[in-house]
């Protein structure tokens, strides 16, 4: 045994070592990754973010350089801190405190000493920088807004959060990423691809050489410029018209589905979310839970469509053949839609047909038409599902599929909805009669309403609304935005309805906002709405709604306007819609007094009411 004792020991330990080396070097791959992480320093070369233009080539967003003064505490020598402080515009006594803060973070890693120096301060400092060993200037790129409008469309960029980093390997701590609007939707195009330079570092994190002579280094690829579909002049005009009001305007070019304007009120200056003040301003906007400036009402707010929806009911009834243009309905300030159930209407000539029903916005007519549409079928379930099928073909009740990152579905009730509400399944079409006049369960977002207006303007089809027009000067070729979506309504049924919409301005509810020389077709809407105060359901002043397109025979703009608590449709939404149309088509406004009234008009007193804590009257 002793003769081979040592042989055994030697071979045994050799086998153990080789086995362990097989495990560490061949089987376990994690060590290689760790090794690269700790010994190779990657330095990123950030490309300039793409510019954003409007449809006429007006520059909306560019970049501005910003200069951070960085420090590596270990390399700081005894410098003239008084002179340095003066150049940086900091107090000399703060210098050592700021330096020790950087030291506390790391002696060997760079940290920001003074962030975002102005160009002037940078210029003065740059020449003397050699004197201050351990400090250096790092150039960053910030957004530079050429417009004070369209903040909701443009969105903003901010430092990427950890969840996103975990999800997408491209991003690293401190990288900027689009958070909202176009910046988010077209993040990949705008940001470009950052370049990487790799350096070998030592255990103190100091760079000793370039890694493998730059074999693995990559060059940055520039961000792409975008051209949006919006017309910044129209957008700014809309925002001005909506000042001191809340709501949204969505304008679409019917022939293309391009969004001409997407106004959110209240809005904010996009420049607020850039630079040193960014975080403070953002907090202020974010916590304004009453006016909610960051909430894009044009895309997110779900309102009942009100009377504007009557247009759609008329089209469906014609398609289903339950009424003709001449079908007459009697209305004496309303009608009984069932025994003991009266639907009120306002005072107008009676009886009405399709045309006068539309321009008078007669509740009795559309209550009747709607009920007939449903009663055509054996059961109310079949009836309402058939109705909902038509409604949904106009893009209502579901996400439209546009390219901005936020949205709401709205609501188009189907039989399932009412079977839930009336569990015995025993409900009659008249139970849902509010749908006939756009009240009740129906909910639509302004962009959906504008899209549905565009579909009417086109006599039966629409293109999915979108905000992107060109990427890097090349027209977009996305099937989603270039393919026609056809509605379930036969084109021939549109003409009589459009005639009615035209007469809204000629002799109906929109007479007051008629524009000389432009054939506008539109429809007013007034939507009841409620809020909760101390747990009680309280009705507020109606929302003022208006949809319109123009010119009648060659539509160039379709628009939907919502003014929260603006009362009836022709009071706020109608005038704003007609001004927007005139602005877009003629570029000049003939009705200066109306424009002045809209620009100066304020509904802030209306918004104060439910917050005042006192009883208040509505619809005054």
């Amino acid at each position: 045994m002793r003769r081979f004792f040592l042989h055994g020991l030697i071979l045994f330990s050799a086998v153990v070592f080789v086995a362990k080396l097989v495990q560490i070097q061949l089987l376990d791959n994690s060590y290689e990754l760790i090794a690269n992480n700790i010994s190779i320093k990657k330095v990123y070369d950030f490309p300039e973010r793409g510019y954003i233009y409007d449809r006429n080539g007006t520059l909306l967003v560019s970049n501005q350089p910003s200069y951070d003064i960085m420090v590596i505490p270990r390399e700081v020598k005894a410098i003239d801190s008084i002179e340095f402080s003066k150049l940086l515009k900091i107090k000399p006594e703060d210098y050592s405190q700021m330096l020790s803060k950087a030291k506390h973070y790391s002696l060997d890693l760079p940290s920001v000493f003074v962030p975002q120096l102005s160009k002037e301060d940078f210029a003065a400092l740059q020449e003397k920088m050699w004197k201050f060993e351990g400090f250096y200037i790092q150039k960053r790129s910030l957004r530079d807004y050429q417009t004070r409008h369209a903040a909701n469309i443009l969105g903003y960029i901010a430092e990427v959060n950890e969840a996103k980093i975990a999800q997408n390997k491209y991003y690293q701590m401190g990288d900027l990423i689009g958070i909202q609007g176009v910046e988010k939707a077209y993040e990949d195009e705008l940001r470009g691809i950052k370049g990487v330079k790799r350096f070998q570092k030592d255990r103190l994190n100091r760079i000793i050489s370039s890694f493998k002579e730059g074999m693995y280094d990559t060059l940055p690829s520039q961000g792409k410029d975008l051209e949006l579909t919006i017309d910044i002049d129209l957008q700014s005009y809309g925002e001005m018209l909506m000042q001191n009001k809340r709501g949204g305007i969505v304008a679409i070019e019917p022939k293309t589905g391009e969004i001409l304007a997407l106004v959110n009120a209240p809005s904010y200056d996009p420049a607020l979310l850039v630079g040193r003040e960014r975080s403070r301003n953002f907090t202020k906007l974010y916590y304004d839970t009453i006016a909610k400036p960051l909430y894009d009402r044009g895309l997110l707010a779900e309102y009942p469509p009100g009377s504007t929806f009557k247009i759609l009911n008329a089209l469906i009834a014609l398609q289903e053949g339950v009424v003709s243009e001449d079908t007459k309905v009697y209305c004496h300030n309303g009608y009984f839609y069932a025994r003991g159930s009266f639907m009120k209407c306002h005072s107008h000539a009676s009886p009405v047909n399709l045309d006068s029903g539309i321009y008078n916005s007669c509740n009795a007519y559309f209550g009747t038409v709607y009920t007939r549409t449903l009663e055509k079928f054996a059961t109310p379930q079949l009836g309402i599902d058939n109705w909902a099928k038509h409604v949904k073909s106009f893009g209502l009740g579901d996400f439209l599929g546009y390219d901005l990152p936020t949205g709401k579905k709205g609501l188009v009730p189907t039989s399932a909805y009412y079977d839930r509400a009336y569990p015995n399944g025993n409900w009659r079409p008249v139970a849902t009669v509010s749908n006939g006049i756009g009240q009740g369960e129906l909910l639509t977002t302004p962009v959906q309403l504008a899209n549905f207006t565009a579909a009417i303007a086109n006599r039966g089809y629409y293109y999915t609304p979108h905000i992107i027009r060109k990427i890097e000067g090349k027209k977009i070729d996305v099937p989603e935005y270039t393919e026609k979506k056809t509605t379930t309504i036969d084109p021939k049924h549109f003409e009589p309805v459009i005639e009615g919409m035209f007469n809204v301005f000629e002799k109906g509810t929109g007479r007051s906002v008629r524009v000389e020389g432009i054939e506008i077709c539109g429809k007013t809407g007034t939507a009841e709405n409620f809020t909760k105060i101390d747990g009680k359901r309280v009705q507020l002043t109606d929302h003022s709604i208006f949809i319109a397109f123009a010119p009648k025979d060659d539509p160039k703009i379709a628009i939907a306007v919502f003014v929260e608590n603006g009362y009836w449709g022709a009071r706020w939404a109608g005038p704003i819609a007609s001004l927007m149309i005139q602005k877009h088509l003629n570029d000049t406004i003939s009705r200066k007094d109306l424009e002045k009234r809209m620009l100066e008009g304020s509904l802030l007193y209306e918004y104060e009411k439910p917050l005042s804590g006192e009883p208040f009257n509505i619809n005054q």
Partner: protein
């Protein structure tokens, strides 16, 4: 001086070739580990690789010196050597310089000498001389105690420097004693003690006792109808229980925290990659990132970045693993195995008892260094800082190993003169 012997010298060229290979590969890796980033000249004597080149040069002079002396000289003067190195070890407490916590060095000007590296050689010579006496039998208590004392004196002197690693190397001589005539029970007891120690640390006292109990019961049935089995088994079990209970005490009260930490890391009881476990963690990363073929000479990112502490000395094997990969590590381990086996082969053909027992001393010392150093670097042995022979940077250790090896080669080479 006996000049007549030199005519019949027949040194073993295989072992010399293996020595040259190991020292050569060692130098290449020290070069890679000490040059980082910037261009450094090959003959820069301020850098470890330059100094090592100088040490290697001095080694060859040392080899010539060893060969020029008569082989009888080493046996006759073994005790004198032993006395000198022991005095040097004692002298450290008066004239030594404290470097990283241990008073292990004499420093004259720019040259530093570590006597413990030479004490191994003299101890090997003395042990060989003692065992070469035909009368000596280690089953005899007096002989056992005397020889143990000779070994324990330098061990103790080194242990209190404190340099536990170098002291541990002297356990090599107890292996030699076993190979001579020491009862196998000592090995069995030592082995059982190590197993019990580890079992107690990993599983806790009660489980460790449970395992031993199970082992004893198993043994009881395996031994079948043999007489006198119950008594010794009970005794063995009893000793194990007492030992296990005392391990806790030793571990908690006698060991220092750093020793406890080292054990805990290897046993996987604590995970710490930053502080105390940093060395082992970094060396594993360097090794592991090498893959099969390695990153290539001078391409090791961990080596270049100086992430592995003490890389050119105790952790030199990580450079091999990172830059030459599994292939390189395998070759180095294979070279060491060949080297050790060749030494064993040479021992077999010795004609004098002194040469034979000296040879065993040499093999055991090299084996302990090899096993502990590489075991530590790849993380199967607790962190014990001892150099890898011929690889690790350092003059004293290189010269110590050269002396150790070449005295044996000289003895072997002149075996035909021993009639």
């Amino acid at each position: 001086m006996n000049t007549s012997g030199s005519r019949h010298l027949k040194p073993d060229w295989v072992i010399i070739f293996l020595f040259v290979c190991l020292a050569g590969i060692g130098f290449v890796n020290i070069y890679a580990a000490s040059v980082s980033g910037l261009e450094v000249s090959f003959l820069d004597f301020s850098k470890p690789h330059g100094k090592q080149l100088m040490f290697l040069g001095l080694s060859s002079i040392l080899i010539l010196l060893i060969f020029s002396l008569d082989s009888k000289f080493y046996e006759r003067f073994a005790f004198v050597f032993y006395l000198i190195t022991s005095l040097l070890l004692i002298g450290l407490f008066l004239f030594g310089k404290k470097i990283s916590g241990a008073t292990s060095w004499y420093v004259f000007g720019g040259v530093s000498i570590q006597p413990s590296e030479f004490a191994k050689v003299s101890c090997a010579l003395l042990v060989a001389k003692y065992l070469s006496d035909n009368q000596v039998d280690l089953k005899n208590l007096k002989d056992l105690l005397v020889l143990s004392l000779w070994i324990l004196i330098p061990t103790f002197l080194i242990l209190i420097q404190p340099d536990a690693g170098s002291a541990l190397v002297f356990s090599a001589f107890f292996l030699v004693m076993y190979l001579h005539s020491l009862s196998g029970w000592f090995v069995f007891a030592g082995f059982s003690a190590i197993i019990m120690f580890l079992l107690t640390l990993v599983l806790g006292t009660s489980w460790a006792i449970g395992v031993v109990f199970g082992f004893c019961v198993l043994l009881y049935f395996l031994l079948g109808k043999r007489k006198h089995k119950t008594g010794p088994l009970l005794l063995f079990f009893g000793i194990c229980v007492i030992f296990s209970l005392s391990v806790n005490y030793i571990f908690q009260e006698v060991f220092e925290q750093r020793h406890r930490d080292r054990f805990n890391i290897v046993l996987g009881l604590t995970e710490d990659n930053r502080d105390i476990g940093f060395n082992t963690y970094q060396s594993k990363i360097a090794l592991g990132s090498g893959g099969f073929w390695g990153k290539g000479f001078m391409e090791g990112t961990q080596t270049k970045g100086n992430f592995v502490p003490e890389q050119h000395t105790d952790y030199i094997f990580t450079t091999v693993g990172e830059e030459w990969g599994f292939a390189g590590s395998f070759v180095v381990i294979a070279l060491f195995v060949l080297f050790l086996l060749r030494l064993l082969h040479l021992i077999n053909r010795q004609k004098t008892a002194f040469a034979k027992w000296y040879g065993f001393g040499v093999v055991c010392v090299f084996f302990i260094h090899f096993a502990i150093n590489i075991g530590m670097v790849i993380g199967v042995v607790p962190t014990i800082g001892i150099p890898l022979p011929f690889f690790s940077y350092g003059g004293s250790s290189l010269w110590g190993f050269t002396l150790l090896l070449f005295i044996f080669i000289k003895l072997d080479a002149s075996r035909y003169n021993e009639w």
